[in-house]
Subunit: 220 residues, 2 copies
């Protein structure tokens, strides 16, 4: 097998596994079903991943990288434009949505101690990143918050976004989550930050609401 | 078996089951272990509960009643005393802590549709109750919030308290949750409400902080 093909097959397997895990829950998906969806042999799949747990670990590594990328990105502008900071929230909810099977899973810290440790590390790093973003917003006079408030906000923001889809599924019974629910999550997170916005930041929101309908009309 | 004894045995079984489910996770506890802890026969246990699922349902009914009681209680004073409202948060975290195995469990909405529906109903009722409490605080001039803000606060408060112990376990790896973590949850929830407190409410907090050390000194 050529190296290029192997890499491509590996990526295709991960993508198919992610899709099936998200749709059905990882407990209800077998390696045979993943091979079947791709039209490859189980032997070929086994060449890349020996067990379902290896797939879970590889997808978790993708998620780690994704969250790191989302939260370490510099805002597109060095100025005091609130809109650039909204992207962190929107992209975070997208990351969670794309890897939602990992968020549904409750890891057993005893049986999966390595993964539990990586989740703990990821959670800590994400808190530090979020605190840095919020401190940046304070420096740009978009947010008024003390270091203590920033730390509390980062924790509450993590809880609200990380458990958002769990919450929706419990509150509304059956699972039927769409783009609209993702947007509702972003809104719910913004509600957390709203009291801390400066007058300047509130002014930007008001101005955006005024111009938005006009933009829509121009497009239509 | 006399009726009084049967009722007492049923209560003892529920208490033992709750303790074991909380300690080990319900998946790792058998009916035999529950009978063993109580020193009763499996036949006696079976007379009350035929399957583990029946125990889970009975404990869930207890939790429903508990949450209803906590959130429907009238504040101890008709006045504008913030301290009376702190009890809702403290008692809510205690309720969650006492029935924590139910909060750790992720129900499969397809396999356990009746329970999923009851969880959805419970979540809705708790939201309405919390909104009423917050509206009451607005009426007493302790909180300044619009109906829209009250609805957002109730949802965020539910998410933070309902997932608080999950969050701690993920963030710190292994499970070792004590009274201190429960208090940290109350604090984290208060952080959510803080920006909405009126000047009068903030004044009460400042006054309480001033008198607290003196009280402590008097006690010691």
């Amino acid at each position: 097998m050529k190296r290029g093909t192997a890499v491509k097959t590996r990526d295709r397997i991960l993508k198919a596994a992610l899709g099936l895990f998200n749709e059905r829950g990882e407990a209800h998906v077998s390696l045979a079903q993943i091979a079947g969806r791709l039209g490859i042999s189980e032997g070929n799949l086994w060449y890349h991943f020996r067990a379902k747990h290896d797939l879970v670990l590889a997808l978790f590594a993708e998620l780690e990288e994704r969250i790191e990328r989302t939260l370490s990105r510099e805002p597109a502008s060095a100025g005091a434009d609130l809109a650039y900071f909204g992207d962190y929230a929107r992209q975070s909810f997208r990351d969670i949505w794309e890897y939602r099977f990992l968020y549904r899973h409750r890891f057993d810290p005893d049986a999966e101690s390595e993964l539990a440790q990586r989740i703990a590390d990821l959670t800590e790093r994400a808190h530090r990143r979020t605190e840095r973003i919020l401190a940046d917003m304070v420096a740009r006079r978009l947010l008024a918050a003390t270091p203590q408030e920033i730390s509390e906000l980062a924790a509450n923001a993590w809880i609200i976004s990380r458990y958002w889809f769990d919450y929706l599924q419990e509150r509304h019974g059956l699972a039927r989550i769409t783009e609209a629910e993702l947007q509702a999550g972003v809104k719910q997170l913004f509600a957390l930050y709203r009291p801390y916005l400066t007058e300047a930041a509130r002014g930007q929101i008001a101005a955006a609401h005024e111009t938005a309908p006009r933009k829509k009309a121009a497009r239509g």
